[in-house]
């Protein structure tokens, strides 16, 4: 989905602020939230968890910390799957903002075909990223859509984010490390810079 989480190339967030000697967790609840979410979800539903975080209200997402993202994401999934009641969360916590509902048609028809684990592209192939804008979960960043790159690496197949999240289909598909030039991405030469993005086969088509 074209949400505020898809940050690559945006301008306007200012300098990167580094906290010297930062602790792993600033507050006890951060560590406990990480562990609770990890123990419940990480092994089985990583894409679903990412999508729950993406579905957070855009303003809430940008104004809350990483572990508040986790907290909101895991609580949303637990409510949606009926494990806990939203009412219970609100009664006990006062307020408990959750993420928004999954879109009506999260996977566009062009991305619904069954996965195939055998690679269609090879190292050195020129590929264009299909210009698709799903309303559901995707791992295709916006800044590479409709851009041409070169396959630099053919990676092991893995479950497709769209199908795993929305169709409960975890069959694997090939992933490619694709190299892009700044001229193609941003319309500007930036000599001596290349950007690699890892893309599932269904995001790609052959480029001339």
């Amino acid at each position: 989905m074209d949400g505020v989480h898809d940050l690559g190339g945006l301008v306007g967030f200012g300098p990167v602020e580094v906290e010297p000697d930062e602790p792993v967790f600033h507050e006890e609840w951060e560590g406990r939230t990480f562990a609770v979410a990890g123990s419940l979800l990480l092994s089985g539903n990583l894409h679903g968890m990412r999508h729950a975080i993406e579905r957070m209200d855009g303003v809430h997402y940008l104004t809350s910390s990483y572990y508040e993202h986790w907290l909101t994401g895991v609580a949303t999934l637990l409510v949606e799957s009926g494990v806990i009641e939203e009412e219970d969360l609100r009664t006990r916590a006062g307020s408990f903002p959750l993420a928004r509902a999954i879109a009506d048609e999260p996977v566009p028809p062009e991305l619904r075909h069954p996965p195939s684990p055998s690679p269609q592209f090879r190292r050195g192939d020129r590929v264009r990223v299909r210009n698709l804008h799903p309303f559901g979960h995707t791992r295709c960043p916006d800044y590479v859509r409709d851009r041409v790159g070169v396959v630099a690496r053919v990676d092991p197949a893995a479950p497709v984010p769209e199908l795993s999240t929305h169709h409960r289909d975890d069959r694997p598909e090939c992933i490619y490390g694709v190299r892009f030039e700044p001229l193609e991405l941003w319309g500007e030469r930036d000599n001596g810079v290349v950007v690699h993005v890892d893309l599932y086969e269904r995001y790609l088509e052959p480029a001339a």
Partner: protein
């Protein structure tokens, strides 16, 4: 949280929500508090950049290990006993005088947990995630890592399953150091690629 902590209020909103969520899950028997404690301890103490530093130091002293590491990062890292969530498919990228590698995740905050632990706040921040793919040379300079114009910058956006570890160059003048001492020179930031040693 203790009163002396820098956080301004004794109980923040997210802290209250986190407590409620954990409480509900414990009541329903879905979460074991001692398991939660164990995960917190592991990531707070045992799983961190010292693991990655051990990998880097081994690669610096053992050319055959380095070849294996660059060829199949996951297996070579497993030789030293490191693996697990967010490290199932590791790709190691090597810095040289002519090439500098830097890792980002523009869509969330993917990070190689088994070798670096959990990411620092700046890695998860909007400025870092938005800018590293757009103006890496300027951002690296701002972050204290200026590079000559003739150094190629390779940015790796961890958008799928691969998790990246940067293999920094071995600093000059360290020929006499033992592997353990070398590991002490390797920083988290150098293994993300926002620092050169």
């Amino acid at each position: 949280m203790s009163e002396d902590h820098h956080h301004p209020s004794p109980t923040s909103e997210p802290e209250r929500r986190a407590r409620v969520l954990e409480e509900l899950l414990i009541e329903r028997g879905l979460v074991d508090p001692s398991f939660v404690d164990a995960i917190v301890d592991a990531y707070g103490r045992d799983i961190g950049p010292m693991n990655g530093a051990a990998v880097v130091a081994r690669a610096w002293v053992d050319p055959e290990y380095k070849d294996r590491l660059l060829d199949d990062g996951t297996s070579a890292i497993a030789e030293l006993g490191f693996g697990g969530p967010e490290g199932d498919y590791m790709v190691v990228v090597e810095n040289s005088a002519a090439v500098h590698n830097v890792v980002v995740c523009t869509l969330c905050s993917c990070y190689p947990w088994p070798v670096l632990g959990l990411p620092p706040t700046w890695y998860k921040s909007a400025p870092y995630r938005s800018r590293m793919v757009r103006e890496p040379r300027r951002l690296l300079a701002e972050m204290g890592c200026p590079l000559d114009d003739d150094v190629e910058i390779r940015v790796w956006d961890s958008s799928a399953d691969a998790r990246y570890l940067v293999l920094p160059e071995r600093p000059k003048g360290t020929e006499s150091l033992a592997e353990g001492e070398l590991a002490g020179l390797v920083t988290r930031d150098a293994m993300i690629g926002v620092q050169r040693l």
